[in-house]
C-alpha cells in the first residue's frame, strides 16, 4: 500500500498548544464563585460506620454543605468504563456508593465537604466526627478466600468477585503424556498509572437545569451514563465535557469523582463545585494495577514442544470490583495467540481485599500474565538447557491461527521477524559468548520476552465508534470523533486518515479535540488500544462518504463521470490524465452557495466493528547487576513491534518510549507499599513511590515490523498499550542470565535483590 500522509512522522496537532500552555485542562477552567469540594476518607481498612456527625463542620464559616451517604440516593453502581451491557449477566459488579456506609479500605470516601475554598474545606474535614466500629481486615487475595476471612461485601461473603475461566482440549491427557512438566509461581506488585494530571472535575447546572460536568476522563459518554445511574437521574439531563487530558493510562477509564462532584453541585443548588484530587489522594482513592499471582504448569513433549498450559491466577482487586474480573479475563485471552498449546486450563480468581481499588491500567492484565508466562518460558529453557529464542520460535503459532474460544484470527503475524530483528540489534550471540563465567562484582546478562495483544475488545465488548466530518467553504474540514485524545496522539492519527482519504493537506483537517456528550458522536472512549483500529474505521468511512459527495457534486458540475475524478492536494483532478480541473475550494464553495444545487457536505457515521487484530512485539534487554548492592542497571533495551501499518512514526516512537519507561519502573522500582497491620499506604507520593526519572532511563531503541492487517482501515493494529507489556520479563530474564537467580516477583528493587542474594548465599 502506498500512502501520502499515513506513515509520515508529522507533528502532533496539539503540540504547540500544549507546550505553550494554550491547551486547557479540567483544572484550568473557572466559573464565577466556583466552590471547592474535599473528601473525608476512612483511616481504617475495614470499619462499620456507626454514626457521622457533621454539625460542627457545617457550622464553620465558609462551609456550604457536608455530604454523607445519608444525603444521597442509596444506589449501588458499577464504576468500570465499559459499554453498557443490555443483558444483566454481562454487567460490571454494582458494589459502590458515591459516599460509603462502610469503610472497606484506608482512603474510602466517607464524607464530602463543599466550601468556599480549599483551606476552609480542609478545616471542615477535621470537624466531621465519625464513629467507626473497626473490623478485622485482609490484604492478601489468597488469605481473603480462606474460610473465616473478613467479609468485605455482604453480597459476596466469600470475597470472590468471579472465577470464570477457560478450558480447551484434552488437558489431562496432554499432561499425562508429557515428557516434562514444568511449574513456577510468579507475582506482580500493585503499581499506579502516575498520569501527570490527577483526576479533576467540576460541575454545575446550566440555564436549562441540566447538569454539566467538565472532567478529565477517557470516556465522556460512559461518564454520562454512570453519573445518571449513580444519582438516579435521566441520562439526557447530564452533559459531560472532556477538555485536554494530562494522561490517563486506564485510570480515567473509570468513573471516579464525577458522581460525587455532580452530587456536590446538586447539594448547593447547582452552583459550580470543583473537585481536584491531590497526588496523595490519587494514589489511594482512584485505581491501581492489579497485583496478580500466577501458578503456572506446562506440559512439554519429548521434542520440547509446548503441549498444554495450566494457569491458576489470583487477582487482588481491592475493596471494590471496578473492572474486576475482566482484567484477568483479558490476561488469559490475550496471551493465547502466541504459543501453540494444544490444550489449556485457565483458572482465574478475582478477589476482594481491604486494599485500594484496582482497575484498568495500560494493557489490562496482560503485563502481569506476560511477566509470568515469559519468565516461565525462560525457566523452562534454563532447566532443560535450551536456547530461549529457538525454543520460542519453535513453539509459536503460525499465520492463520484461530483461537478456539474467542475465534479471534491471526491475519498478520510479524512476531518471528520482530524476534530476529531484536536479536540482531542487541548482538545476542556475540554478547552471550562474552558473558560466560563472569565472576566480578558487576555481571552482565541478556534477556528477551515476547507478547501478543489485541486491538480493541471484540468479541467481549461492543466496539462502536462514531465520526462526523463537515466540509467548509474553503475545502478544509472539521473532524469530530467520540474517541478521545488523552495524550496518546489519536487526534493527529485521525487527521492523517482524513487528509489521506480526502487528498488534502493535514492543516486543512481541523480536529475538534473536546468531546461534549451533547454534540460529539457516540464512542465508548479511549481504552484497549482501540482508537486507531476501531475509531480509525469510522473516520475512514466518514471521509470516504465526504469524498464521494464531493466528487458527485464535482461530476455534476464539470460533466466528468465520478469514476474519472479524484482529489489530490486539495484539487479536483482527472484521474486518468492527472490534470487539474478545479480546486476543491471551487467545489466546496458551490456546495454552500449555489442557488439551485446548494447542499453543504457533511457525514455523520458510525461503525460497529466485529473483528479483532492481534498485535505482537518483543523486548530485548541487556543488564548489569551490581552483585554487592543489588542495583540492576539496564544498559540496552529495544522493543520491536508488529502493529501493522504505523500511521505516524514520530508518535509511534513516543508511544513506545513511554511504554518502555513505564515498564522499566514496573520491573525495577515501582510498588505501592502498605502497612500490613493497618492496611494504610506508606508511599503515596512521588518521593517514596519510585517512579523512574529520565536519569534512570537508558536509551530506548525502537523498531517496527510493518505487516499489513487486512481488517485495519489502513492496515493498522494496536500500539497504545503494547510497549508496556514485555520489558519487565525481558529484564527479569536478563537478570537471570547475569546472576543465575530466579526473580519471580517484581519489582526487583535493590532491597529485594539484596534479600534474594542473601537467601541464595551470594552475600
Amino acid at each position: 500500500m502506498s500512502f501520502k500522509i499515513i506513515g509520515k512522522g508529522v507533528n502532533r496537532k496539539d503540540a504547540y498548544g500544549k507546550v505553550t500552555g494554550k491547551a486547557k485542562y479540567a483544572d484550568d477552567f473557572f466559573e464565577k464563585e466556583m466552590l471547592c469540594g474535599k473528601i473525608l476518607s476512612s483511616p481504617y481498612a475495614h470499619a462499620r460506620i456507626r454514626n457521622i456527625d457533621v454539625t460542627e463542620a457545617e457550622k464553620l464559616p465558609g462551609v456550604l454543605k457536608v455530604l454523607t451517604y445519608k444525603d444521597l440516593p442509596y444506589i449501588k453502581f458499577a464504576t468500570a468504563g465499559h459499554p453498557w451491557a443490555l443483558e444483566a449477566k454481562y454487567r460490571d459488579v454494582a458494589d459502590r456508593l458515591i459516599l460509603t456506609d462502610k469503610a472497606r479500605f484506608v482512603g474510602d470516601s466517607v464524607a464530602a465537604v463543599i466550601a468556599e475554598n480549599e483551606l476552609i474545606a480542609s478545616k471542615a474535614l477535621e470537624l466531621i466526627k465519625v464513629d467507626y466500629e473497626v473490623l478485622p481486615h485482609v490484604l492478601d487475595a489468597e488469605e481473603a478466600l480462606k474460610e473465616g476471612a473478613p467479609i468485605i461485601h455482604d453480597e459476596r461473603p466469600n470475597n470472590l468477585v468471579s472465577d470464570f475461566g477457560n478450558e480447551y482440549g484434552d488437558y489431562e491427557n496432554d499432561f499425562k503424556n508429557a515428557e516434562h512438566i514444568m511449574e513456577g509461581i510468579y507475582e506482580t506488585s500493585i503499581v499506579q498509572h502516575c498520569h501527570l494530571e490527577t483526576q479533576s472535575a467540576y460541575s454545575y447546572k446550566d440555564i436549562d437545569d441540566r447538569l454539566v460536568i467538565v472532567s478529565s476522563t477517557q470516556i465522556p459518554h460512559i461518564v454520562r451514563r454512570i453519573v445518571g445511574q449513580a444519582l438516579g437521574i435521566p441520562w439526557g439531563k447530564i452533559r459531560v465535557i472532556k477538555p485536554y487530558i494530562g494522561g490517563g493510562f486506564g485510570n480515567k477509564q473509570e468513573v471516579i469523582i464525577e458522581p460525587l462532584v455532580a452530587a456536590m453541585s446538586l447539594a448547593v443548588n447547582g452552583k459550580p463545585v470543583k473537585l481536584t484530587l491531590s497526588r496523595e489522594e490519587c494514589f489511594v482513592n482512584t485505581r491501581t494495577r492489579h497485583a496478580i499471582k500466577f501458578y503456572i504448569k506446562t506440559a512439554l513433549s519429548k521434542d520440547n514442544k509446548l503441549q498444554s498450559i495450566h494457569i491458576r491466577g489470583f487477582s487482588n482487586t481491592g475493596a471494590y470490583a471496578s473492572h474486576g474480573h475482566s482484567i484477568i479475563m483479558s490476561a488469559i485471552s490475550k496471551f493465547r495467540p502466541m504459543y501453540n498449546f494444544k490444550s489449556f486450563k485457565l483458572e482465574p480468581k478475582t478477589v476482594y481485599t481491604n486494599l485500594p481499588v484496582a482497575g484498568a491500567m495500560r494493557a489490562y492484565g496482560v503485563p502481569q500474565i506476560i511477566f509470568a508466562l515469559e519468565s516461565h518460558i525462560d525457566d523452562i529453557c534454563r532447566k532443560l538447557k535450551l536456547d530461549p529464542i529457538e525454543f520460542r520460535k519453535d513453539n509459536l503459532i503460525s499465520l492463520g491461527h484461530e483461537d478456539p474460544i474467542s475465534h479471534v484470527k491471526v491475519r498478520s503475524f510479524g512476531l518471528p521477524e520482530c524476534i530476529d530483528r531484536g536479536k540482531k540489534f542487541i548482538k545476542w550471540d556475540e554478547k552471550k559468548k562474552n558473558y560466560q563465567n563472569q565472576k566480578g562484582d558487576k555481571r552482565r546478562g541478556l534477556g528477551m520476552a515476547c507478547f501478543s495483544y489485541f486491538s480493541g475488545t471484540y468479541p467481549v465488548c461492543l466496539e462502536v465508534a462514531g465520526a462526523r466530518i463537515i466540509l467548509n467553504q474553503d475545502g478544509s474540514v472539521q473532524l469530530q470523533v467520540g474517541a478521545t485524545e488523552i495524550g496518546q496522539g489519536a487526534d493527529t492519527i485521525f487527521a492523517q486518515m482524513v487528509a489521506e482519504v480526502l487528498g488534502i493537506p493535514l492543516d486543512m483537517v481541523h480536529v475538534i479535540s473536546t468531546q461534549d456528550t451533547d454534540i460529539t458522536p457516540f464512542d465508548t472512549g479511549a481504552y484497549a488500544s482501540r482508537q486507531t483500529y476501531i475509531a480509525g474505521a469510522a473516520v475512514k468511512k466518514a471521509a470516504l462518504e465526504v469524498k464521494e459527495e464531493i466528487l458527485k457534486y464535482a461530476s455534476q458540475k464539470i460533466g466528468v463521470e465520478t469514476i474519472n475524478l479524484d482529489i489530490e492536494d486539495a484539487k479536483i483532478i482527472n484521474k486518468n490524465s492527472g490534470t487539474e480541473i478545479c480546486t476543491l475550494e471551487d467545489i466546496a464553495l458551490e456546495t454552500f452557495y449555489d442557488r439551485v444545487y446548494s447542499k453543504p457536505i457533511t457525514s455523520d457515521t458510525t461503525v460497529n466493528i466485529k473483528t479483532n487484530a492481534v498485535a505482537y512485539g518483543v523486548t530485548f534487554a541487556e543488564v548489569e547487576v551490581d552483585m554487592q548492592t543489588g542495583v540492576i542497571e539496564v544498559l540496552e533495551i529495544i522493543n520491536v513491534h508488529d502493529s501493522g501499518t504505523i500511521i505516524n512514526h514520530k508518535q509511534a516512537l513516543g508511544q513506545v518510549h513511554g511504554g518502555v519507561s513505564m515498564a522499566l519502573g514496573y520491573a525495577l522500582s515501582e510498588k505501592l507499599i502498605f502497612d500490613e497491620k493497618t492496611g494504610k499506604i506508606l508511599n503515596n507520593n512521588f518521593l517514596d513511590y519510585k517512579l523512574q526519572t529520565i536519569m534512570d532511563t537508558p536509551k530506548i531503541d525502537v523498531d517496527f515490523v510493518e505487516t499489513y492487517e487486512e481488517t485495519g482501515s489502513f492496515g493498522q493494529k494496536s500500539l497504545g498499550e503494547n510497549p508496556a507489556i514485555s520489558p519487565a520479563p525481558a529484564i527479569r530474564n536478563a537478570v537471570l542470565d547475569a546472576t543465575g537467580v530466579y526473580f519471580n516477583k517484581i519489582p526487583m528493587n535493590p532491597q529485594t535483590v539484596f534479600e534474594k542474594f542473601k537467601e541464595m548465599g551470594l552475600l
Binding site: T629, D696, K758
Partner: protein, 293 residues
Amino acid sequence: MYSINKIYEPKSLQEALEVYNDKPNLVIIAGGTDVLIKLRAGKLKDIELLSINNLKELNKITYEKDGTIIIGAMTTFTDIFRSEIINKYIPILAEASVSMGGPQIRNTATIGGNLCNGAVSADSAPSLLTLNALLKIESLNSKRLLPITEFYEAPGKVKLNKGEILTEIIIKKEDYENLHGKYIKFSNRKAMDIAMLSVAVIGGINNNKFTKLRIALGVSAPTPIRCFKAEEYALYKEINEEVIKEIAKLTLEEARPRDSWRASKDYRLHLIKVLTYRALNNCVKMAGGYISE
C-alpha cells in the same frame, strides 16, 4: 492553599534577628523545600513565617586570605555545585550538592536549610562532617561557632536556641588542604530522591599510609554521624586490601541504622560496609595511594 497566617520578610540580617528575637515562635523559611511540604501535608498549620530569603548577605561563597572557605547559609545547592571555589577546593561538597533533589529543588533549597531541618538524609551533612565544618550561629545578642559534629541532637532536631539563625558554614584550610574525598549517595533513583544511605570519605595519604582520614555516614544512625573508631584505626597503617576492609567494617561500630519500610536494617548495614569500602578505594586512588593485596 497553605495555612499561613502571616509572613515577615526582613531585608537585613539585623532586622531578621530583631524580629526573631521579638517573636521566637516564628517558623523560619529559607528555600521552602521543607517548610512548604510540611504546610501542604498539614504537619504545620496556622503559623507565622519568618522568611530569610531577602538576606543577601547570607547568599555567598567566599575564599578568605587564610584559605578559609565561607558559605552563606542561604546559598542554594545550584550555586554551590557551580561554584569555582567549591569545585576547586572541596569538590566533595559539589558532588553532594548536585546529588540533591532535582534542578528545581536545587535552585531554591539552601545549604543552611538542609542542615537546620535536621534530616538524617541531608545530602550536605556527611560531606560537611568530613570537612570539619564550623557553623556560625547568630542571635540578636550573641554569636557562636559550633563544630558540625556537635550540631545534631536527634532526628529533625539541631542545637539552635530560640532566636538563633544559622548564618555561615565555615571550612578551614587545614581541613581540606591536600585531602581527597568521595561522596556516595545510595538511593533508588539517580535523581529526585533522598538517600537510602550515604557515605562521605575524605583522606590524605603519605607513603601509602593515611595521614588523615575522616568518614561520615548519612541515614545510618538517628543523625548524620562520623565514624571515629574506623578513622582512628586507619591512621598510619600501611594501606592494603585487608586494612581497607577492616576500616569499612569498623564503621559499623558507630552506625545504628534502623529498620524501616524504605530499607531494612540488614541491608543498610551491608550497604555501609560496601559503600565505605568503595568510597575508600576512590579516596586512596585520588590521594595517590594504592591498595596492595
